[in-house]
């Protein structure tokens, strides 16, 4: 039993998920359910000169049609919840339905409610809108140039904020540097592509005044709050339920107009209303990720010491500031510019830019993959410049393991780490010498083999609430759990976080079952319903296990503490003479005198014989607020072969060594790493959201947007080092984003290593055959 924590048992949620017995939002069926469909702008930027919904209103089955004019004075615009301080952040109003102007292709202009989904879709085609098209751009750098289309009257240069991160004296470091390198890097827009698109079902009881909203949410408590703002309905009148949620990757964190509008319609009409995105709509209106154009520099000494890093970043926000958008390219990006290294001088200027694209917000890794990518690319470019092995450059700059907790130049305090151990382990798996020999031989044969290596860190386990407040995050970042033991001894744990594929129904049960000496079947984890779970802040930022898992552990220990007092009373023993052994409290020296948790649960719940002053029942609540973030780290290595004739990149090996502290369930950790690596390889190789010159998204289907396929993926060799974090009682870090943070940079480093004989130092991802081929032709002096 004691080994349940740390054992790779199968995910308990999977049987229902893979046998069609799970209930997703679109599976929710209610009597009299009506359906909502939105009329959306085909233009990326246009004035609305006229909207005529009369034909739509008369269409068969139509119950109601709402336009921006109908709702603008009754509902509050979509709030942005991350007011990053110490900058000139400007957050323009994001109306739930556009009424004067549309700012991206997909901006909703009307909502049709009909008896069936098909009728609603047919009627949407009858919404007649006259637009006066305006110039548009989806390019975050172009949008800041004089004469660019202006999205919001009050923001003439489209710059939503200018945020600066600074530590040491970067200007001086670069001025006196022996060596400096620079690179323009484009980190392309990505489409999160959760398997389940967004959906909402709203039901309003006019008698009780209660609104129930089933929503695809990573954070139902946050959605309850934000819906309360938009709908002007008190929080205690709203129940948000996130039933089964089919992936999010950040795209189900934000508040969107759609869920609030569906709620509004349910309240107005007194009937339940459902809306479900289709894939095209998902690609157009659910948030996108990344979208940076970066000018980055690194300086250092000829013997490989990095002395400075400097950036200028145009971070696309899209048309409006999504819920967490301002925090992503700033707090979660600029603050981690030191990476795994001691870099004394750091300066970054980040422009958050409004463009005529879909709003951009947190996508797996959120800001940190962009940071790891630019740092790890720069280290390789710098190493090439000084003629040193990039592995050696990394070793010379790593924060040594005995320096933790370590304060980097940007002010973050890294909790714990042993970067060189992860690097050595990865190199051991690779057999570096053998690979270099193979590479040298291949080069003689005119073949291009390469090895890429990344030693990343990430900031996660978000995070201390006090820090959340200090960096302008509009909420806390603690999390919560209620551990409730039933009379028969079985346990339900109600948590504030909201897992949607990460497997915490298994891992959290392992935490409690390990403490209670139970089989895992005795513990159920309940999440995703604001009416029965304590206030929490959701699942994102690789925070759920580090923060909410810690709350579970603390609550379980509180239960156990009470149970021990009760056991002492029932055994007529002194509490000090009891010890927890195997699966029960036992009297030291007389192990047969024992009380297990099941018996104690019964006695506590019937309360026939309680110690004087002890309340009946056996449950505890814990709110866990960490003292710091956690900083997982690791080294990934990728080897590739590049086909010189076609530009095709073939991954030969992918090795991931990650340190996320002690794994509760190693199989689930490995699964998270696999998923993350694959998503990052997609980013590195083939995923790109393309807008044309008129800011039309031309990769609007899964035929055009290249999500990785199983057949394209390499075998991923996963290994771990274990360095516990001192900031939570589990010692865990986080593993949900690690793979994504490392793998895109790892792949590009590998391809640039392969093509080093041609003098190629950088190719912007995604490394499609066309791009790689063009780079090869250019390097050879040919005109591609």
């Amino acid at each position: 039993m004691a080994t349940l924590f740390g054992s790779g048992i199968k995910r308990r949620e999977d049987p229902r998920l893979i046998t069609g017995q799970a209930t997703y939002v679109d599976d929710v069926k209610l009597p009299g359910l009506a359906y909502a469909v939105f009329a959306r702008s085909p233009y990326a930027h246009a004035k609305i000169t006229r909207i005529d919904v009369s034909a739509a209103r008369q269409a068969p089955g139509v119950i109601a049609v709402y336009t921006g004019a109908d709702v603008k004075d009754r509902l509050v615009p979509v709030p942005c919840a991350w007011n990053v301080p110490n900058c000139d952040l400007k957050i323009p109003a994001h109306p739930l339905l556009a009424y004067d102007k549309v700012r991206y292709a997909g901006d909703a202009v009307a909502m049709v409610i009909a008896e069936t989904r098909a009728q609603a879709r047919d009627a949407v085609d009858l919404v007649d809108v006259d637009y006066e098209p305006l110039r548009a751009t989806a390019d975050p750098e172009q949008a800041t140039q004089p004469g660019a289309a202006r999205l919001h009257e009050e923001i003439p240069d489209n710059i939503g904020f200018t945020w600066v991160v600074s530590g040491g004296d970067a200007a001086a470091a670069f001025q006196h540097a022996e060596v400096a390198v620079s690179q323009r890097i484009v980190q392309q827009r990505l489409l999160p592509t959760a398997m389940e698109p967004r959906a909402a079902v709203a039901q309003y009881n006019r008698g009780s005044g209660q609104l129930t909203l089933w929503a695809t949410s990573q954070n139902p408590h946050i959605h309850r709050f934000l819906c309360s703002v938009m709908l002007k309905l008190p929080e205690h009148r709203i129940r948000v339920i996130a039933p089964e949620v089919g992936g999010g990757f950040g795209s189900k964190i934000p508040a969107y107009p759609d869920e609030a509008l569906v709620s509004f319609a349910a309240m107005e009409l007194g009937i339940p209303v459902k809306w479900t995105e289709d894939r095209s709509e998902n690609y157009k209106v659910t948030i996108h990720g990344r979208d940076h154009i970066e000018y980055v520099e690194m300086c250092g000494t000829r013997d490989g010491k990095i002395t400075g890093i400097r950036t200028r970043v145009y971070a696309g926000l899209g048309a409006y500031a999504s819920t967490a958008a301002p925090g992503i390219p700033t707090i979660l990006h600029g603050l981690v510019y030191s990476g795994s290294y001691m870099i004394p001088n750091i300066h970054g200027t980040i422009y958050g830019v409004y463009t005529n694209g879909t709003p951009v917000d947190a996508y797996r890794g959120a800001g940190r993959p962009e940071a790891a990518y630019l740092i790890e690319r720069l280290v390789d470019i710098f190493a090439r410049k000084i003629g040193m092995d990039p592995i050696e450059v990394r070793r010379r700059n790593f924060i040594p393991k005995d320096k933790f907790p370590y304060t980097v130049a940007t002010g973050l305090i890294y909790d714990s780490g042993n970067y060189e151990a992860a690097l050595d382990k990865a190199l051991g798996i690779l057999d570096l010498k053998a690979f270099r020999a193979e590479q040298a031989k291949a080069r003689k044969d005119g073949r291009y083999l390469g090895m890429g290596l990344v030693s990343y860190i990430e900031i996660c386990g978000l995070g201390p609430s006090q820090v959340a407040g200090a960096v302008g995050f509009g909420g806390g970042l603690y999390d919560s759990a209620i551990v409730r033991v039933y009379p028969t001894g079985v346990v339900k744990v109600y948590i504030g976080a909201s897992p949607h594929g990460q497997g915490e129904e298994t891992t959290f049960a392992q935490i409690v079952a390990s403490e209670f000496g139970y089989p895992v079947e005795n513990v159920e984890i309940i999440h995703g319903d604001t009416d029965n779970t304590p206030q929490g802040w959701g699942t994102y930022g690789s925070r759920t296990t580090a923060v909410c898992g810690s709350a579970v552990k603390v609550a379980a220990l509180r239960v156990k503490e009470k149970a021990k007092l009760l056991a002492a009373h029932l055994l007529e023993a002194n509490e000090a003479d009891l010890e927890w052994k195997d699966d029960a409290f036992r009297v030291k020296g007389s192990p047969d005198k024992a009380k297990g948790m099941a018996e104690l649960a019964l006695m506590a719940n019937v309360a026939w014989n309680m110690p004087p002053g002890m309340e009946p029942g056996l449950e505890a609540t814990a709110f866990f607020d960490p003292t710091n973030f956690v900083y997982p780290f690791g080294t990934h290595i990728c080897t590739v072969e590049v086909d010189e004739q076609t530009g095709q990149v073939k991954i030969l090996r992918y090795i991931a060594v990650d340190d996320c502290g002690p794994p509760i369930n190693p199989m689930i950790v490995d699964g998270q790493i696999h998923g993350g690596v694959i998503q990052g390889i997609g980013e590195g190789l083939q995923e790109i959201a393309v807008y044309d010159e008129e800011a039309q998204l031309v990769t609007g289907t899964m035929m055009d947007y290249a999500v990785p396929k199983a057949s394209q993926m390499p075998h991923i060799e996963v290994a771990h080092t274990i360095t516990p974090s001192p900031v939570n009682p589990l010692g865990v870090k986080g593993c949900g984003e690690a793979g994504t943070i490392a793998s895109a940079a790892c792949l590009v480093n590998a391809v640039c290593d392969a093509l080093a004989p041609l003098g190629i130092t950088h190719i912007d991802k995604p490394l499609t055959p066309a791009r790689v081929w063009a780079a090869i032709q250019k390097a050879k002096g040919a005109t591609p």
Partner: protein, 178 residues
């Protein structure tokens, strides 16, 4: 998405026969891809309903067509603005006729179209090919049928009384990128 096409087919007919055909909306519509109806508001302003298919998408566009800078028998520009459910299209085109000899005319045309909405995001990969095919087929058929049709009815021939716009350069397109 923006697409530009152009061509300069030769028509086996004198320019005096070609001009009345190219400004006759009903004659043009007979060869236009997917044209379902044409409503003439005035000699230079038409409303056209027309259906397109791109891949799996079938759309009916309502098009507002306006001729400008009409300079018979040589030149005019066309502005088309159309909308369909979830999509929109804008086309600016120009056509010029050049007399090659007494029985042959060069018909030079170029068109720039901007496609927005669903048809752009879902059909982008197929759009260029489909649009090129439709456009090229149109001009080939159109040029052939002008020759086949012979001289237009007397009434359709332009007279000096026809309104002629001053040949000013077309206004700049407000949707063009900076």
């Amino acid at each position: 998405m923006r697409m530009s096409f152009s061509g300069a087919p030769e028509v086996e007919a004198p320019i005096s026969h070609v001009w009345p055909r190219v400004v006759d909306p009903h004659f043009v519509a007979r060869h236009g891809p997917g044209v379902e109806s044409v409503e003439v508001l005035d000699p230079h302003h038409f409303k056209v309903i027309c259906g397109f298919g791109v891949g799996s998408i079938k759309l009916r566009f309502g098009l507002d067509v306006e001729l400008a800078d009409v300079n018979p028998p040589n030149y005019f520009t066309i502005k088309v603005r159309g909308k369909a459910p979830g999509s929109a299209v804008e086309v600016t085109a120009e056509l010029s006729l050049e007399m090659l000899d007494a029985i042959r005319t060069r018909m030079s045309w170029k068109a720039v179209s901007d496609i927005s909405g669903t048809v752009a995001s879902v059909g982008a990969r197929l759009m260029e090919g489909t649009a090129r095919k439709l456009t090229e087929q149109f001009w080939i058929k159109f040029a052939a049928s002008i020759s086949e049709a012979g001289p237009p009815p007397e009434a359709a021939l332009p007279t000096p009384a026809d309104p002629v716009s001053p040949a000013t350069p077309p206004a700049s397109d407000p949707t063009a990128p900076a």
